[in-house]
């Protein structure tokens, strides 16, 4: 079973990864965006860890919705609403239970990812976060062991954005010139899933 403490560790691990990889995310974003994805995610996840320390949410759902709200209030750009929605909707889907099963988390994450797809009007193949998130949630099963598979699927998905032409977000303005670059949003999404596998392992 996964309790609020597990979710706090997941979000903290995600923040650490975003911190470590911020320069790389910004570098990827400078190729097809405007060179701020790392900085923005870093600002958002710093706020998330501060809020978790301050409010110490008691349920998995509360931890995720709190984190989502922080991202919406601090990140800006498209990443704020999209990542905020991912965590908030996943948190809401988990409800008020003090502990959840890996299977419940998998279902809730699928709801969160669907909400991201709806908000951004995007689908897999558009060279966005969804290219990492969709394969990740597809790989999730009813055990924490499946988190490792999700991590591999997310990383493969992020890598698979390289040959794609962007159809959403600012990168879409580059047309064919967006081909050949890894999508920064898919890359940060893979970080989030990798952090999940890390704390589960």
């Amino acid at each position: 079973m996964l309790d609020a403490e597990f979710f706090r560790r997941w979000l903290t691990a995600a923040a650490a990864r975003v911190d470590r990889e911020a320069d790389r995310l910004t570098e990827l974003d400078s190729a097809i965006g405007d060179a701020d994805h790392g900085t923005n995610m870093q600002r958002g996840f710093t706020a998330v860890t501060a809020a978790l320390d301050k409010e110490s949410p008691q349920t998995p759902g509360a931890a995720l919705t709190l984190a989502g709200r922080q991202l919406i209030s601090t990140v800006g750009g498209a990443s704020g609403p999209l990542y905020g929605t991912l965590l908030r909707r996943t948190g809401k889907a988990l409800g008020d239970d003090a502990e959840v099963t890996p299977c419940q988390l998998a279902d809730a994450l699928r709801t969160g990812v669907a909400a991201v797809a709806q908000l951004g009007g995007a689908k897999a193949g558009d060279k966005t976060m969804l290219d990492a998130l969709e394969p990740a949630v597809a790989a999730l099963g009813d055990s924490t062991e499946s988190f490792a598979a999700a991590r591999e699927a997310a990383e493969a998905g992020a890598l698979a954005t390289v040959p794609l032409q962007a159809r959403k977000g600012r990168a879409s303005y580059l047309g064919e010139r967006s081909i050949g670059h890894q999508d920064p949003g898919a890359t940060s999404s893979a970080l989030l899933i990798a952090a999940l596998a890390e704390v589960a392992g």
Binding site: T26, S30, A31, I32, G33, D34, A35, D36, T39, N40, R43, I72, S73, T74, V75, G76, G77, A78, S79, G80, P81, L82, L119, G120, Q165, R167, K168, G169, R170, A171, S172, Y173, L174, G175, R177
Partner: protein, 330 residues
């Protein structure tokens, strides 16, 4: 990196403190990042609120004041503001007559303003939104996020702002804003990439002797790269791209806009070429504005925006305005 900054993390806050010192006629909330005209909310008037990433100065904070915006929300550099800012701005300027959000079509701006609209409406603010999408360089909206909002933002904010100042109701201010956007088209050219403080180096490589055609305002590369062209050739290309998209049916207001690092000497020279093309194409020009208004940090280059106007829109354009960056007739 050679920039006039302390550290990248505080550039926006530092700029807002400096802006507050220079413009006591504005109320600048540095912590919450909202710039409001000091007399807001103005009884009986619709409040125009806009915002977007910082780095486009004077857009939008420089357009706050009587006759234009009631409030502006600056985000981080090239990053849209967060919903909390718009909600705060809407509450500050709502006199009960409602608020119009002027939103540039970029995914981040659209998503954050949408979230803000929902929250502000929950708090009882009557809200309308207009999306600015004037950039003809983006043609295939099926496979992109749609046309970007660029130079036309100034026309929408000025003309709809004048209508709000006259006391027009929300529905009317909104429909005028929409009309201005539909009547406006832009095309931009970059002669150099811009440098964001966070990255500290140019956001894309533009070799000497080349230029980017069809750029937006966020340091992103354009649609096409070509060997450097003359001012005359660029004007032909840009104006024709605009007119091809919106065939001329009425007189136009011209905005020749600098991207931040191009001197007025060049912009005026470019304007001469723009006026020549328009005259050759027999498009009457009723007003012209030349300067740095919708910029992209230190990018060199320019954009041309044409706004087709009738008598009513021209009258609203000429109406008094008193903001840090645009000021006449009062």
């Amino acid at each position: 990196m050679r920039m006039l900054i302390n550290v990248p993390e505080t550039v926006v806050a530092d700029a807002l403190r400096g802006m507050a010192a220079a413009h006591p006629e504005l109320s600048v909330d540095v912590e919450n990042r909202v710039i409001v005209r000091r007399d807001a909310p103005v009884a009986g008037k619709v409040g125009l609120v806009s915002g977007g990433g910082s780095g486009h100065e004077p857009l939008h904070g420089g357009f706050v004041g009587p006759g234009m915006l009631a409030a502006a929300c600056p985000g981080e550099v090239f990053t849209s503001p967060v919903p909390d800012q718009m909600v705060r701005a809407a509450a500050a300027v709502d006199s009960g007559e409602g608020v119009l959000f002027v939103v540039k079509n970029y995914t981040g701006d659209v998503l954050n303003f949408d979230m803000a609209a929902e929250l502000a409406e929950d708090e009882g603010v009557r809200l309308a939104k207009v999306l600015v999408n004037d950039d003809v360089a983006v043609t295939d909206s099926l496979y992109t996020a749609g046309r970007r909002g660029t130079g036309a933002t100034l026309f929408v904010e000025k003309i709809a702002g004048a209508a709000a100042e006259e006391g027009a109701p929300l529905e009317r201010v909104e429909s005028i804003a929409r009309q201005v956007n539909e009547n406006s088209r832009s095309f931009g050219v970059a002669l150099s990439a811009s440098t964001t403080p966070a990255k500290g180096s140019p956001t894309f490589d533009l070799p000497p002797g080349e230029l980017e055609l069809g750029i937006g305002i966020h340091g992103e590369p354009g649609r096409e790269r070509r060997p450097m062209m003359t001012s005359r050739e660029i004007a032909d290309f840009a104006v024709n791209a605009v007119l091809e998209d919106l065939p001329p049916t009425s007189p136009v207001i011209v905005l020749v806009n600098g991207m931040g690092a191009t001197p007025l000497l060049e912009l005026y020279g470019f304007n001469a070429e723009v006026q020549r093309v328009l005259s050759e194409r027999r498009v009457p020009v009723v007003r012209t504005l030349v300067g740095n208004y919708v910029t992209s940090l230190d990018m060199a280059g320019c954009s041309v925006t044409l706004c087709q106007v009738d008598e009513e829109l021209l009258r609203l354009w000429d109406a008094p305005v008193e903001t840090p960056a645009l000021r006449w007739g009062r």
